[in-house]
């Protein structure tokens, strides 16, 4: 990706034949990852022929020269690349993007009952000293629902459940964003309120050793969809028929009925983009990324973005500069989407947190589709890592 950012017209990646590499598994990984990256780059507007992966051993001079010549001819036929955006290029104000909104009215929720049950459970856990604190939801002074941390049984009474409980609280379980408990020497487990989509994030985090199962007490809540704007079901919830969290220690609420699944506006938009030419897709994405201010709200809201230092914020500018210009913005968003492939649970907190309405879900959905097509895998259904980071299927043993 960096090579294209720096102006290359094409990138040819050659490795040893499968099974013949003395690094053993590097080419297996490349074979799994490259198609995913190629799909992403093509989706962002690169002509896919400009990126090629092939296998050549050290003794195959003739094959090497044939592939290299073929690739050069292919790239030459495509002409000069237009990937890198010249510095000082005027802002692109053309293609607009209307925010994806749902329109399914919510079924009356038993919010009061669930609120009472969450408070009772939180009080019990804090009274018995089972957990250090409980992460749930509260309503702020302006009436906005927001994350809340109950450290004492009394504070448990501020916790609520309502249709605006949209935040994925598992982001606070990662080492970076987990607040320390004052005055407690031995860190206790942390309790967290989760919806079904959030619970899948817990499975991914468990698979990636962010914490152990014993360190988290999961208060699962049955869900019939959340709404940020009153009366409007969030886009991710419209097609979701997960009603019960996939992992929990205690379950609150009865499983609500399934609603009639509607075609996801996100899936429809992905399909629409795929019908366009690479140049049109590039224009679409540049017009979206143009608004990015690199505030990193998307990354910070994401439970999966838990690298100690983000690759795109390193001091050495190896992968991306610190400028808030088009090339850097795009590299960040595409890089983040690629790093989330097979890990993103689709909670869509990144898009909700974005102050600039960048349709990040369109990137994550595309990656999820590619992963499902290639590996029949959906993130977080079980505590197993993404197939993109493992080497061979069946290599990872549960437990």
């Amino acid at each position: 990706m960096r090579t294209f950012d720096q102006g290359a017209d094409g990138v040819l990646i050659l490795g040893c034949h499968i099974g013949e590499c003395h690094y053993e598994t590097g080419n297996h990984r490349a074979a799994k990852r490259l198609p995913i990256l190629k799909a992403l780059m093509s989706y962002a507007g690169l002509e896919p022929e400009r990126l090629r992966l092939d296998w050549v051993s050290a003794s195959e001079g003739e094959r090497f020269s044939r592939i290299a010549n073929e690739f050069v001819e292919t790239v030459r036929a495509l002409g000069p690349i237009k990937w890198r955006v010249p510095s000082g290029e005027a802002a692109i104000l053309t293609q607009q993007f209307a925010a994806i909104r749902g329109d399914v009215p919510l079924v009356e929720q038993s919010c009061a009952v669930k609120t009472d049950a969450i408070r009772a459970k939180a009080r019990e856990l804090l009274n018995n000293g089972v957990v250090g604190y409980v992460i749930g939801y509260e309503v702020g002074l302006r009436g906005r629902t927001r994350p809340s941390f109950a450290n004492t049984p009394e504070e448990a009474n501020k916790l609520v459940w309502n249709p605006d409980c949209t935040y994925n609280l598992t982001t606070y379980l990662g080492k970076k964003r987990r607040p320390a408990v004052k005055g407690i020497e031995q860190p206790k487990p942390v309790a967290v309120v989760v919806k079904p989509c959030d619970s899948r994030a817990i499975n991914v985090l468990l698979a990636e050793n962010q914490f152990t199962r014993e360190q988290v007490y999961i208060i699962g809540v049955t869900c019939e969809g959340t709404q940020h704007d009153p009366g409007v079901l969030q886009a991710r919830c419209q097609v979701c028929n997960e009603r019960v969290p996939v992992v929990y220690d205690t379950l609150i609420g009865d499983p609500p009925p399934q609603h009639e699944a509607k075609p996801s506006p996100v899936v429809l938009k992905v399909a629409e983009l795929e019908q366009k030419t690479p140049a049109e897709r590039m224009e679409f994405w540049l017009s979206q990324f143009d608004r990015c201010i690199r505030c990193y709200a998307c990354r910070q809201a994401c439970p999966m973005c838990n690298c100690p230092v983000c690759l795109y914020e390193r001091d050495d500018s190896l992968w991306i500069g610190m400028g808030i210009n088009m090339n850097e913005k795009r590299a960040f968003h595409l890089g983040r989407a690629y790093h989330l492939a097979g890990r993103c649970v689709g909670c869509n907190e990144c898009e909700r947190a974005c102050p600039m309405n960048i349709p990040i879900s369109l990137l994550n959905m595309k990656m999820a589709q590619e992963i499902e097509a290639a590996f029949s895998f959906r993130a977080g259904l079980k505590p197993v890592p993404s197939p993109v980071v493992t080497v061979l299927s069946g290599e990872y043993k549960e437990g």
Partner: protein
């Protein structure tokens, strides 16, 4: 007071857009931003204050400070001072107040920031009074007002059928063609606004430095930088030299280009003020969030002589934008209690 009609205003703005860059509220993807516009047709009239402040047109998200070329003849440094005149139309009083706060650092005392100074000199601000205060606005609590013209070049007050016009500075006066004025004896519309939270300068901030409050308030903070980047007065930046891929009209073969780049930074970021060796003086997010409020209401006013004024303009942008509802008005109210 002088008065112009809506038609006169659009004609005037279109004239400006032909001669210099016209920046105005523009709606894209359901959000309102200040953007360069080619014609008054693109302007979002009847808009509230945009999501981002007008700060970026004086202190851009990132800018080149220096072009560095290394070739056979040695190293060549080229200054890259911004050129080109611009007019910001529709700036709100909180935006203009913010520019005054930025002036205290970049302009009022040496060393003067030449990049900021040249943008400031090349920019004319046509302000627009707010008809009402938004739900998160509190400018009247920090010494501002929705009809405050004090930091504008030209000020427009919405009135029946058009706008009352006030030329605030000579720069503003020279932008208005004489033909535009309609002599009119109407008074400019009166505005009446109430202050909804206490004046944060009435709080004894140093007394709250070690409060447990900061740890509790920052629990849900995500350490993103949205609040700082939408803020009209946050002005932390970072500077770095970076390699440039050689561009078309760049240097000759064998030459390498670098740029010294300055970009926005924020005390909310996890890497804020990290020093060589990895030490982070504000490693905890509670320390970083506290810094944000102390900077607005204590550090900056003390250091740059704002007197009893705060470095917050009460625009409420950070309140609206925070993904987890960390609310500056709530903090002020809590501490004043």
């Amino acid at each position: 007071m002088n008065f112009i009609t809506q038609a006169q205003l659009t004609e005037w703005l279109d004239g400006i857009a032909h001669q210099q860059t016209l920046i105005a509220p523009y709606k894209m993807a359901d959000i309102l931003l200040y953007q360069p516009v080619q014609s008054s047709l693109m302007i979002a009239w009847d808009s509230i204050r945009p999501v981002m402040s007008a700060k970026e047109f004086f202190f851009p998200p990132s800018e080149r400070l220096l072009l560095i070329e290394k070739g056979a003849a040695g190293i060549k440094l080229t200054e890259t001072l911004p050129k080109g005149r611009q007019v910001i139309f529709g700036a709100r009083p909180c935006d203009a107040h913010g520019i005054k706060v930025l002036d205290a650092l970049f302009l009022d005392k040496p060393p003067v920031d030449l990049y900021y100074a040249s943008r400031r000199a090349n920019t004319t601000i046509i302000g627009l009074a707010c008809k009402e205060m938004g739900s998160s606005c509190f400018c009247t609590s920090v010494g501002g007002a929705p009809d405050d013209a004090s930091n504008m070049d030209v000020m427009l007050y919405p009135a029946e059928g058009g706008y009352a016009v006030e030329a605030v500075t000579e720069k503003g006066r020279s932008l208005i063609p004489d033909s535009l004025y309609t002599i009119d004896n109407r008074q400019r519309p009166a505005f009446n606004f109430i202050s909804n939270i206490v004046n944060p300068q009435s709080i004894n901030w140093p007394a709250h430095f070690d409060d447990e409050y900061w740890a509790r308030t920052s629990e849900r903070c995500l350490s993103c930088r949205a609040c700082a980047y939408v803020c009209p007065t946050c002005r932390c930046f970072s500077v770095r030299d970076e390699f440039l891929p050689v561009e078309a009209d760049g240097c000759n073969p064998g030459c390498a280009q670098y740029e010294r780049i300055r970009g926005w930074d924020s005390c909310e970021g996890e890497n804020y003020r990290r020093t060589a060796g990895g030490h982070r003086p504000r490693a905890e997010k509670s320390q970083r969030l506290r810094n944000r409020y102390f900077c607005k209401f204590y550090f900056y006013p003390e250091q740059y002589g704002l007197g009893n004024a705060s470095a917050c303009t009460g625009c409420g942008r950070c309140v609206d934008i925070c993904p987890v509802n960390v609310d500056i008005t709530e903090v002020i109210t809590d501490l004043a209690r």
